[in-house]
């Protein structure tokens, strides 16, 4: 049974129509953590995020938010407690940055109270926090991918929720903008006491930024904890089927994953030679290849 926290779920069975993604899943997001969820494609990371944000109704089990069943809240109330940045959103044609960020105020607005004094202050503050205040009057369509992602983040911040879920916030960004977004997340976590949950693809980024790492495979949680305590070559190989070495990140000392060099072995495996079963074996093969001095495959 997972530890109760502001956001946790128990015995979750998550499915789309008939295809079950997760069965009997227990999950708890530690309060004030920067939790990162990693796992291979289609392992159920985004599905879990959807369940945690009430977008997907579990077939069984329950998600708890702030001590109550998440299903018992009105929609707007959930949106005042928990923010979510989906993988893709559509910016309306011709909208300005400020107007888009202002849409994050919706859960705080009422039919007859659409623009209160605090709305304006929060919008300004959100744009300043994400460094897009200078772009307030620009059209969102004209911005670069990195700037746009900051604007979407500002919109979610304008919701003023203590919990933030981010579904692959770095996809489609170049490396500099990826680090930019992650630094911003770390700052939000560190200086503004947000509890953050992000799905990331890059294991090294996950290990560097996460205070709590959740590793998933086939819809189940395989390991969770501080990255330096749980990430091993064995774990990565088990989850991703990729032989790796784990070394300390020269910048931060957090685990850094380096794929084992298998050049030249792929085609041999494809021809039906026995598949390497362990990291050691793969490493041996890689060394064999090095000895044979095979030419680089283009």
């Amino acid at each position: 049974m997972p530890e109760p926290s502001r956001l946790w779920g128990e015995n979750l069975t998550l499915a789309y129509d008939q295809s079950v993604i997760s069965r009997d899943l227990g999950i708890s997001i530690p309060d004030n953590s920067f939790t990162v969820i990693v796992g291979p494609n289609a392992c159920g990371k985004s599905t879990l995020l959807r369940a945690l944000s009430r977008m997907l109704k579990p077939q069984s089990g329950a998600v708890h938010l702030d001590g109550r069943l998440i299903s018992s809240y009105p929609s707007k109330e959930v949106a005042r407690r928990l923010g979510l940045l989906p993988q893709s959103s559509i910016a309306p044609d011709g909208i300005t940055v400020a107007d888009l960020v202002a849409r994050g105020r919706y859960p705080h607005q009422k039919l007859l109270r659409q623009w209160s004094g605090s709305d304006e202050a929060v919008i300004t503050e959100s744009m300043e926090a994400t460094g897009v205040a200078d772009l307030a009057d620009r059209m969102v369509d004209e911005l670069s991918g990195g700037q746009r992602q900051r604007v979407w983040l500002a919109m979610v911040l304008a919701q003023q929720t203590p919990l933030l879920l981010l579904d692959e916030p770095t996809t489609y960004l170049d490396i500099a903008h990826q680090m930019d977004v992650l630094d911003l997340c770390a700052e939000l976590h560190h200086e503004r006491d947000y509890t953050l949950v992000a799905v990331l693809h890059d294991l090294n980024q996950a290990c560097r930024y996460a205070t709590h790492l959740i590793v998933m495979k086939d819809g189940a949680v395989v390991a969770e904890g501080a990255p330096s305590e749980i990430v091993t070559a064995g774990l990565v190989e088990k989850v991703f089927g990729l032989p790796v070495r784990v070394v300390p990140d020269p910048e931060t000392g957090t685990p850094m994953i380096v794929a084992v060099d298998r050049r030249g072995t792929i085609t041999r495996r494809a021809r039906g030679t026995e598949e390497p079963t362990g990291a050691q074996e793969a490493q041996d093969e890689a060394q064999d290849d090095a000895v044979l001095e095979k030419p680089r495959s283009a």
Binding site: M55, S75, G94, R103, L111, Q114, S116, D134, A136
Partner: protein, 356 residues
């Protein structure tokens, strides 16, 4: 691009209007206020023209007197019993079609997602034609037949297109398919019918405001009074849903319920409009797009679409009645020409200036 510190107030695109208690507060964009005012003025002008013009012309002061219940008997008859209800039907039906079109386009996230295209209009027409030919219907029966046909078709399209919520392109594709089938059904029915019935059905199918009176005005007005307020209140939710279902959900919009309620209300509104005036084409398609472009709004504007729909239909009716007089055109034949040309011109201008 030089970085500037944000000017105070640069985060808002309009002027905030608040009551002292802060209980009521809105943001009013200058452009919205100006365009809304212009649309209302234009509707009023055309409305006045509709009351004045005709074989028996009445000057504006006499129209005003007649509206107040004074003046010659003939003036009173033409203004109050003939022209006024017809003009009101035009305003209300136009507004209904405009709003309904805006809702359908917003839900399908596609400018083609108007009731004309997704089969609703075709369903209503088929229902009406069936009533005319099989039951030899009265006006009321035809109206009910149209509403039943429209709602049944909308329900069918919705069920067929639904899977984890409504997907825009699926709604449109299914709608086009069902529309095509319904057209064949209508054609078949008409070929089997005798000439008078077939002609009546044909006229009904183009859409017309001829000989509409206070009964029709009250019918549409009641429907609008019931359906319009909840739809207008849904405007902000619809605009958020245009950013994607997940984003809307994350911002606290009950997506599926909003979709279902909006679709139902918009269908009923279209049904009422069609029942009274026949399947007037193109207003539901063009009015929301025109309003949106004129207002430069960043999402569906239901109120703007209502005004634009009303303006399009009163203008079309003015042209239909007087352009080729004494011959009277069915108004549906005119709406397509006016709305269509205006939309093409707007799009053309936008593309030329690099917007859109």
């Amino acid at each position: 691009m030089t970085a500037t510190t944000p000017r105070p107030g640069s985060v808002r695109s309009g002027r905030p209007v608040r009551t002292r208690s802060g209980r009521v507060s809105f943001l009013v964009r200058p452009r919205t206020a100006a365009v809304t005012g212009a649309l209302v003025a234009a509707i009023a002008a055309v409305f006045a023209a509709l009351l004045m013009l005709g074989e028996y012309e009445i000057t504006l002061p006499r129209v005003a007197a007649a509206l107040a219940g004074q003046g010659e008997r003939l003036d009173l008859f033409f203004v109050r019993d003939v022209r006024l209800p017809r003009a009101w039907v035009a305003v209300l039906v136009g507004a209904s079609l405009g709003v309904a079109g805006a809702v359908f386009q917003s839900l399908s996230r596609n400018p083609l997602g108007s009731p004309d295209i997704i089969g609703f209009t075709g369903g209503a027409a088929t229902g009406a034609v069936l009533t005319i030919l099989v039951f030899g219907g009265s006006m009321l029966q035809v109206s009910l037949g149209a509403v039943a046909g429209g709602v049944a078709t909308a329900g069918l399209v919705y069920l067929l297109a639904m899977k984890n919520g409504v997907q825009g392109y699926r709604l449109i594709l299914v709608g086009i398919g069902i529309s095509a089938m319904l057209t064949s059904v209508r054609d078949y029915l008409i070929t089997r019918a005798d000439l008078t019935d077939a002609k009546a059905a044909q006229v009904w199918m183009i859409g017309s405001l001829n000989a509409r009176g206070w009964t029709e005005v009250i019918a549409v007005a009641v429907c609008m009074a019931v359906l319009l307020p909840p739809l207008l209140a849904m405007g902000p939710r619809l605009r958020l849903m245009e950013m994607g279902e997940q984003t809307a959900h994350a911002l606290g919009v009950p997506v599926q319920r909003t979709q279902a309620v909006a679709l139902l209300a918009a269908s009923a509104l279209t049904g009422a409009a069609i029942a009274v005036a026949g399947p007037i084409s193109f207003i539901a398609l063009a009015a929301p797009q025109l309003a949106r472009r004129l207002l430069r709004s960043t999402g569906t504007t239901l109120f703007g679409a209502a005004l634009m729909g009303a303006l399009l239909l009163v203008t079309a009716d003015l042209v239909a009645q007087h352009a080729l007089s004494p011959a009277q055109l069915p108004v549906g034949a005119v709406t397509a020409v006016i709305g269509g040309s205006y939309l093409v011109w707007l799009l053309y201008r936008e593309w030329r200036t690099g917007r859109a």
